[in-house]
Amino acid sequence: MAARLPSQLGTIDISEGVIAKIAGVNATECFGVLGLAASDGWSDLLKKDSVDKGVRVQAMEDAKVRIEISLVVQYGVSIKAVAETVINNIRYHVENMTGLTVADINVIIRGIRV
């Protein structure tokens, strides 16, 4: 599935995987985020290669997307502040790089490293 942007002569389709990668890369740059998490959050920390696991993107109408991202954070950080930074960061980069509008971002803290 792809998010669709209309253009003058046709359409621009951006695959959800692409948006997921943008979200993933930017989330991991936020302070306090140790990594992205798929289901159980632990086994994934061992293989740090893919930057889009743990990110779910849903393309909606009107060039909008909904993003859900699962994170592992460091113990002792303000989870609320980190989550807000992640949300702002993802929204800024997805919107500016793709031209789509981010309708929702939901952050799930799946794991915490002590």
């Binding site: 140790l34 002792g76 930074t85």
Partner: protein, 544 residues
Amino acid sequence: MSVNTIGGHQLKDMLGVASAYLEKNKKAIDALNVFPVPDGDTGVNMSLTLATASREARACASDSIGDVANAMSMGSLKGARGNSGVILSQIFRGFARGVDGASGEMDGVLLAKAVRGGVEAAYKAVMKPKEGTVLTVVRSMAEAAEAASARNNDVMYVIDAMIEMGEETLKKTPEMLPVLKEAGVVDAGGMGLLVIIRGFKMALMGEPVPEEEVQITGPSLVAEELNTDIEFGYCTEFFVKQPKGNLGEAQVEQLRKALEKLGDCVLVVGGGDLLKVHVHTNDPGKALQHGLSLGYLSAIKIDNMREQNANLSETPSWEEEPAEPPKPFAMISVSAGEGFSTVFADLGVDRVVTGGQSMNPSIEDILTAIEEAPSENIFVFPNNKNIIMAAQQAAEASEKNVAVIATRSLPQGISGALAFNPEMSFEENVAAMNSAILDVDCGQITFAVRNSSMNGLTVEEGDIIGLFNGDMVVKGQETQEVSLQLLEQMMNEDREVISIFYGEGVQEEDANALCEALEERFPDCEVQVYFGGQPVYYYIFSVE
């Protein structure tokens, strides 16, 4: 002054003073941010985080250093805002772990250990630590603290070493992060941390928090208003000359951004080895300093606009010119000679801007003409390729509807002005003018000021040279001869009119003699002589 150790009570003070100092400087730190989001408010974020940390610390009943540090850490966690707030909270967390359980007071060695703890906690909490940020600054401070405490266990000595190292590292952050270098700023988070440590020092020295904001390599923000009308009082203009010729877009942008923080009406034009700079500011010295960072200064002019304003309103004998009724269109032309100015006036040009000897009016001169011209819709003829940019800058700075017709010579300017038709719309006029100026060629006769070689011609100082649309194409010893050669190159079957503008210092008889010679050589052509009065160029020819 030496302060051997720090107790819990002093830590509370240090946090309080640092918080107040950071609060005062939060806007200046925000101004360093290079991304609009997410961390556009580093100053505000760090300030709020620190404020909560300080409050919690003060509320702590105990005065033991370990307990106060813990309260500070919890408070910063509670109040953490933004990326920079979270980093700060981690630094404090590591710091608190470093002093945890310490009995008595904190000496230099323990301070260094605590700072190192802060660094480790901070680095641990991010997947990809970025150098060139607050992380680098705090790490360098930890190294400095460790080295200093080994030499002298006095806490003040260690803090001084931290501040010195922090400043040095902060200055290097643009080298580590390209975005900082491009924007010409140091890292905001690093600056914030430095402000906090300076605040700690102030508390230990018993100094009050200074009223002015901290200087961040120059830029300072809003100045007091001495006069309700003029916000930035000194009109500061100067040239920056750089013989190496390496002033590129990046330097121009950097200078412009630095000046924008000092005041308004910022204009930086040019490149290569020469920049022209203009700014209205209350800190002309700082503006000059910024210019100095790129080269040496020349033709420096600083006017106190408030004084000028005051003088004007005090002289009632100054006659006011009767206000001109507004017109739908107005034309402004740059002129290099009296004769040209008359020609333009005859063509209906409303304002003539004279550029002086080098035909180089300042952006301010052009802007003044634009503002004075009796219309909201204006056409500007720069008449020289070096002035086109200045005219465009002036056009941008004005709120009127201004079109710069990119004329590169006076003859082009004349033909542009001729193309004006009051019956047409603004856009139609612009199009007509732009097309008219393409159809006229400009020849110039002048003398070489030094030996050079160009376009296959070797020229010695004092030779007479002829330029065709700005390119040197002929040279010789005698103006009439060179003029004829030049026109040979410029003429073709389509050309029907040659206009000769003779400059200051040229006798009218000589110009007439040239005219006759041209009529003879080009019998199908109409040849006219006009007094141009321009300096430097004996003759300017317009061929169309």
